[in-house]
């Protein structure tokens, strides 16, 4: 058997310099889980504060900081990197590639995210976190020092995110194995395509919006100075042009995970593959034209509200196509309820509940009542926690054996599933009612005798169930690393290419590039009675990229420059950008032809280097 990419002894240096997509995926994963715990802890603080009326556990300012950082951390520093982890782990394997198109950029993207997240979170220790909500509306946000950390942290991590998106797209478009046509790509890969496109076109307006905030705060620009003729609604528009696609770019990869897992656990081809692809693209497309549904109460007038309301409802149609296709994949199949399966299956009703409340919100006249209340909180936690988080858990149990070569513990997994399911329904179902009963969101406390006490208490209890579930997950991971059951190559009787290679895969993934002859190529070969894929080439030396420390240092430079801006120190700015610039310079003048490795079974003399 081929030696796996994990067989080498790893030093810290290896992890800092790695450009292997699997290892970068792992970095993303653990960073993401860490921030998920941080964001979850913040959620817990929120729920503890709101457990009783007039609770004085957190004061208004602290609460706003915790609430802002909860939203920011969860969306940008937990959900996004966790999904990027899966993209890094899985996409090259699914398309039969040995690496990504730009391994250097991939690593740079990770480190930019890492330092950006660090910078934003450091605000807690440096005079207060941002406290104007994850939306950071002007002019309120302009009042707080914490906003600088928000702006620069997101700017840095956002740049990393855009790079990664470009990298994934290029990989998928130039590095597919022969025969892997676009319409044979697994749905997770497809959703990566659309999500990456959304990143490219949505994170850029965010970058713009953040620049406006930054210039206003640091260089006294006048964009939002109403007395001078500025306008604060401009910021809302730009923010939501980003903000709405942002939530879809999170949910689409989740859809992708669910599509792959449901097909695998049902042992059945995904029902309506073509309409699934079409729906994915359509959701991404319509997603760009609905942003103003977050702004119905801004006062844009009935015509604009109606147009955006109806456009928003239309997103329900392609999403519905997906939901029914998943159900009909199960119907007629043989559904296996392992932990991955449980999470994938329970994704469906949870997401649908969140989706239909979304359609209710899209009814603009009714949204005057829903807007900025706990009804909205309930809506998006159903789609996010019931949807994205459950999909992430499903993907985790599903792909863990491939990536780490060990099976996560099923018993612990099932316990976790039930605790989590109960927990999040307890927490968020009741919040629909709270919203209708008049409870606004983003309140640090509330008066007694408004009929909200019991519901809030119930909601907080649910959060403890979720905490227990997450702790079980952490235990599960530790136990599995310590003495988990070894995984076989194809534990779920899988369908896609990643299951045709060893668990964990060798460094170069595919010793020989496979030929793809059908959708679900691995399943197809198995059905033909084959034990392995057909190959496009004989065994030969494999060209792989060199590891490099430069990306990390380059990202570190932006980190320094970020603090330079925050503390108005030109020295810091120049030092930081100087570091980054020197790295770029070195990178561009130093030729890097990569290295050649020898796949197992091929005897080539050691030490001979074939770079030109």
């Amino acid at each position: 058997m081929a030696t796996s990419y994990l067989d080498k002894k790893f030093s810290l240096w290896d992890w800092l310099t790695t450009v292997d997509h699997k290892k970068i995926g792992t970095l993303y994963f653990f960073a993401g889980i860490f921030y998920f715990a941080v964001g979850g802890l913040e959620a817990l603080l929120i729920r503890i504060q709101l457990m009783y009326p007039m609770n004085d556990f957190l004061d208004g300012e602290t609460f706003n900081q915790v609430m802002t950082m909860h939203g920011t951390t969860m969306l940008f520093f937990a959900a996004t990197p966790l999904l990027f982890a899966f993209m890094n782990w899985v996409v090259p394997l699914q398309i039969g590639a040995r690496d990504v198109a730009f391994p250097f950029l991939n690593s740079l993207g990770f480190w930019m995210f890492f330092f950006g997240a660090l910078l934003t979170n450091s605000s807690f220790f440096l005079g207060g976190a941002p406290q104007a909500g994850w939306t950071s509306y002007a002019p309120l946000a302009l009042d707080y020092k914490g906003t600088d950390f928000f702006v620069l942290g997101l700017q840095i991590s956002g740049a990393g995110t855009i790079m990664s998106a470009i990298n994934f797209l290029t990989t998928i478009f130039t590095m597919r194995a022969p025969g892997m046509t676009l319409l044979r790509m697994p749905l997770f890969t497809w959703s990566t395509v659309v999500a990456s496109a959304l990143i490219m076109f949505a994170f850029t307006p965010l970058t713009g919006a953040l620049f406006l905030l930054m210039f206003e705060r640091m260089f006294d620009a006048k964009f939002f100075d109403v007395a001078a003729g500025g306008n604060v609604v401009l910021y809302e528009h730009i923010f939501w042009i980003f903000g709405h696609p942002e939530v879809y770019l999170l949910v689409l990869p989740a859809f992708g995970i669910i599509s792959d897992v449901i097909a695998a656990i049902s042992r059945k081809r995904l029902f309506g593959y073509h309409s699934m692809v079409f729906a994915t693209v359509l959701i991404g497309f319509i997603g760009f034209m609905v942003w103003a549904h977050h702004m119905f109460a801004v006062g844009m007038g009935p015509t604009v509200n109606s147009v955006f309301g109806i456009a928003t409802m239309l997103v329900g149609v392609p999403t519905g196509i997906k939901v029914f296709n998943w159900i009909f994949t199960m119907i007629g199949g043989k559904v296996q309820f392992n932990t991955a399966g449980l999470f994938a299956v329970s994704f469906i009703p949870s997401f649908v509940i969140g989706g239909i409340t979304g359609v209710m919100l899209a009814s603009s006249a009714a949204d005057f009542q829903f807007h900025d209340t706990y009804f909205v909180i309930a809506h998006f936690h159903y789609v996010i926690v019931g949807g994205i988080v459950q999909a992430i858990f499903a993907g985790m149990f599903y792909w863990w054996p491939k990536i780490f070569g060990k099976m996560l513990n099923e018993t612990l997994g099932k316990w976790m599933f039930w605790l989590f399911l109960i927990g999040f329904n307890l927490t968020f179902y009741i919040q629909h009612y709270l919203g209708l009963w008049g409870m606004p969101r983003r309140v640090f406390t509330y008066l007694p005798n408004q009929g909200w006490d019991t519901a809030n208490f119930v909601s907080s209890v649910g959060a403890f169930f979720m905490t227990a579930a997450v702790i079980l997950l952490v235990i599960n991971v530790i136990v599995t690393f310590a003495r988990g059951e070894k995984a076989v190559q194809d534990p779920w009787y899988g369908r896609t290419l990643e299951w045709s290679i060893p668990s964990p895969p060798p460094e170069y993934n595919f010793a020989r590039t496979p030929i793809v002859r059908s959708n679900d190529p691995w399943w197809y070969e198995k059905m033909q009675g084959k034990k392995e894929m057909q190959y496009a080439e004989p065994l030969a030396e494999i060209h792989m990229p060199n590891p490099s420390i430069i990306p990390m240092i380059m990202a570190f430079g932006t980190f320094i420059a970020g603090y330079g801006f925050i503390y108005s120190s030109w020295f810091g700015v120049f030092l930081g950008f100087g570091i980054t610039g020197v790295c770029m310079f070195i990178r561009s003048i130093k030729d890097d032809h990569g290295q050649h490795v020898h796949p197992e079974g091929l005897h080539v003399e050691k030490g001979v280097h074939h770079s030109a």
């Binding site: 290029t170 970058t207 620049f211 260089f219 006048k222 001078a228 003729g229 306008n231 401009l234 730009i238």
Partner: protein, 205 residues
């Protein structure tokens, strides 16, 4: 999949996309440009919003003068053409000719920047500054951001030229040159919108 399939006396017809790495670079760079287009659009949108919010300061019609803008435009257009010449030379494996045209491009870019700095200084004297009004803030954000791109392009192409001053053209460096020239075109393209939307619209009022 060797990196270099160098023929004895010549290059493949399209050396920039002869290798997998080269092809990926091109695709990736196009993606990058489409993303940047949206970033510029954000600043264009901001500018459009505030183009009349002058806060008592000078208006676009009072500030902008045709000769200066036209000169700047002409410089940038010509530099785009020279970078095309450079790439054509590269594709014919004429290294020194390529270097010459790229050097011209860099010089033109630098003179554009000089002109822009001069222009900004003028405006500041007339009371049109970054902090004077939303119009000022959005003007300098947009035009300055473009200027920063020009500066980056100048530095980038110069670095490429210096680094490879004695090096023949091969399929390893060809994509680098090609991508740099694409970038330069992109910067020129953005300028087309800037002179139309910022300057010409501004003069019309």
């Amino acid at each position: 999949m060797s990196t270099l399939d160098f023929k004895a006396n010549g290059l493949p017809a399209h050396p920039e996309k002869a290798t997998q790495e080269g092809r990926a670079k091109l695709v990736g760079f196009w993606l990058y440009m489409s993303a940047e287009a949206v970033l510029f659009a954000t600043f264009f949108g901001t500018f459009m919003t505030f183009r009349n919010s002058v806060n008592g300061g000078p208006t676009g019609a009072e500030l902008f003068a045709i000769p200066m803008v036209f000169t700047a435009t002409a410089i940038l257009l010509v530099s785009s053409l020279t970078s095309v010449f450079a790439i054509m030379a590269m594709q014919r494996n004429l290294a020194s000719k390529m270097r010459f045209w790229f050097a011209v491009t860099v010089l033109l870019g630098a003179s554009f920047l000089g002109l822009e700095v001069y222009e900004f200084v003028e405006y500041v004297h007339e009371g049109h500054t970054f902090t004077s009004s939303p119009f000022g803030s959005s003007f300098y954000t947009l035009v300055g951001f473009h200027g920063a791109h020009v500066l980056f392009g100048v530095l980038w192409i110069s670095t490429l030229l210096l680094r490879n001053i004695n090096r023949p053209i091969d399929t390893y460096v060809a994509p680098k040159y090609y991508v740099a020239s694409l970038y330069w075109h992109f910067v020129d393209l953005v300028w087309v919108f800037i002179f139309t939307i910022v300057y010409l619209f501004g003069m019309v009022g």
